[in-house]
Symmetry: C2
Subunit: 426 residues, 2 copies
Amino acid sequence: MTGNKNFVLKGNICYSEDRNLLRTVEQGYLVCLEGKSEGVWKELPEQFFNLPLTDWGDKMIIPGLTDLHIHAPQFAFRGLNMNLELLDWLNTNTFPEEAKYKELDYAKKAYQIFADTMKKSGTTRACIFATIHRPATELLMDLMEETGLKTMVGKVNMDRNSPDYYCENSAEESVRDTEEWLEHVTKGYANVSPILTPRFIPSCTDELMDRLSRLQKKYQLPVQSHLSENQSEIGWVKELCPASRFYADAYDQFGLFGGKVKTVMAHCVYSSEEEIALMKKRGVFIAHCPQSNTNLSSGVAPVRTYLDQKMNLGLGTDVAGGSGESIFRAMVDAISVSKLRWRLLDESLKPVTLEEAFYMGTLGGGAFFGKVGSFLKGYEFDALILDDSSLPHPQPLSLKERLERFIYLSDDRHIIGKFTEGSRIF
Amino acid sequence: MTGNKNFVLKGNICYSEDRNLLRTVEQGYLVCLEGKSEGVWKELPEQFFNLPLTDWGDKMIIPGLTDLHIHAPQFAFRGLNMNLELLDWLNTNTFPEEAKYKELDYAKKAYQIFADTMKKSGTTRACIFATIHRPATELLMDLMEETGLKTMVGKVNMDRNSPDYYCENSAEESVRDTEEWLEHVTKGYANVSPILTPRFIPSCTDELMDRLSRLQKKYQLPVQSHLSENQSEIGWVKELCPASRFYADAYDQFGLFGGKVKTVMAHCVYSSEEEIALMKKRGVFIAHCPQSNTNLSSGVAPVRTYLDQKMNLGLGTDVAGGSGESIFRAMVDAISVSKLRWRLLDESLKPVTLEEAFYMGTLGGGAFFGKVGSFLKGYEFDALILDDSSLPHPQPLSLKERLERFIYLSDDRHIIGKFTEGSRIF
């Protein structure tokens, strides 16, 4: 089917129209024209009768999933050494592992595992952190290009508070490397594009931030970083940036916090009211990473607040803070941790619903990539074919129940087809 | 290998010796004599040279897992309708589903799915709730017998505060049915045995509890029930049993709370100091069910307290409060929720470690079944063969790291062999 971007899929179709509205159409028709969704019908309109049609029978068809925050070099140690909090975890586990990507042989082996796993996952779009190393970052982009997934990949910038073996020598060197990387990668990829990636404020001098800001303007780059993940981190930022009113302000001072700059910030567990107000004003995307925030004992982000305020919001796995690449699992975790937050901390913030979790993993996060994450007319045709036949049940189930159950019980075996922009990935 | 209970397995062996001591032996020898572990050696002692040896190569070998709390009839709706708290969830989802098991045709279809799934899971021992129906409970026992797993199954007793369509008419009828069931099932099974199962205090009149207590003595039965899962439930018990000093006391008044009566109580999320003291004094087993306590917004049990006080403690999936049957997942969830409890509620209770979670899922829960859940000499030979070769990694890993990663990342595909009491299940 690759190459022909005009076709019809028949099956049990589920997608979000909005954060609370999950539409389910049994035995519906989903039309793809030129790689974009033309819409979903219960009866196929006559004008599409000539298009090739694939009948997926009892399978489910849903939009592709977006992972707004994942660290490719950390995939190697997912599920390991989960007994530390953020700052100790970075020094003990993360920086030593990321330093290995200086060696291209190691990077090749590790990134191939990452790319293969991402390809067969439910994810069609992702914002990916690489390491500080330009050659390994380009290699990662080559490998991601081959998967057919639509991803943004960032060479990481860090020029302070990092171990000698894993730190750029100066802001100047960091920016020179970054610009060389940008010159290499701004052309030649159909599926991958660069994203500016200052690791987080503690790792970046003011000089570096200032220079990156100029680079952002020159290349019109989107930006990804971390924000208010952990209280020790927030305290540290306060020490490092006495002139900033709050953590986000330390990015904002350099023009790297939304507005005309498409920006995604991971975590936002402890954002203050004024930080939330600024994120909202600037349209900054929040990558909610519930599993990582649990594994690193960070806490639970106030997602109910973000939903109610209609902020830009999606899900991230944050591997290896999170232990796996599944955005279905992130949906479940978003619901789960919101229940514990409600019970243990604040009963004014109601738990996340299934509809909201599904929205976050599809349309909510997809919006960072444009019209992505739904089957509404005009959306990029990213889709998954789901087979729940090996998850038997004795009673009849509605389509919505099948979807809910799939989200809770499935793994990669149950994803049997995947499309991005109308091209078949598998 | 079935039939021959004297043999040697070679491989990478991991097991708990105590709640904090995880032993790992690379390329070790595990000897089974007459269905019991004879021990683990780095070099095989000469006296075992004549035994048949299976070399599992680079695979891992660990003790079988124990699920101290699972509801077989709820398996049908696992992963569905997770938006209610306990008491509403029982009335809306659980009782209507359990009532269906009056029909043997439905029970056969549903229980076969349950038994098939349990067979291929990592669980070798389980304490299982059935429904109030005697014929369906016997059917479940027949099906569990065929799996080869060692399980205890209970016909549920409930004679009050339950909907008309799912309630026994009187204490007398409930006990008569239960005694008939016991007469049918106390012989004839090699793998399954009955366990007395008053659902929970709100469902059982004093008269029923009193009669069940006599039945317990007559048949020398173990007991399973629920305790202090949810605050509304606890408040309700207080109303229903004004003479009880606390929830556990309502069981204890009838002699159904430990001591000579082997007893397992699920949840214990909100047990008071005096309740904890009584559990400890009576040796009552706690089935910690972290996923269920999250899904039903119940809260997080103070497992650190139970570990430090060296109480009897294991893990339960509590399907369908929990959405799956994996005790590996329960280990991860036990660690995860303990981190959130520490962060959000009480920083004096440190998170559960990997060693402790593994202990709870093997030796801790296994102790309810006797000498079960370790490879120390004299323990029943329950074992799993684990294949992590399809979870690739670029770096070398120690055996302990492989085990940790397996616990976080594996599913049923990765369990390739299973033994109970020296008999091969698959």
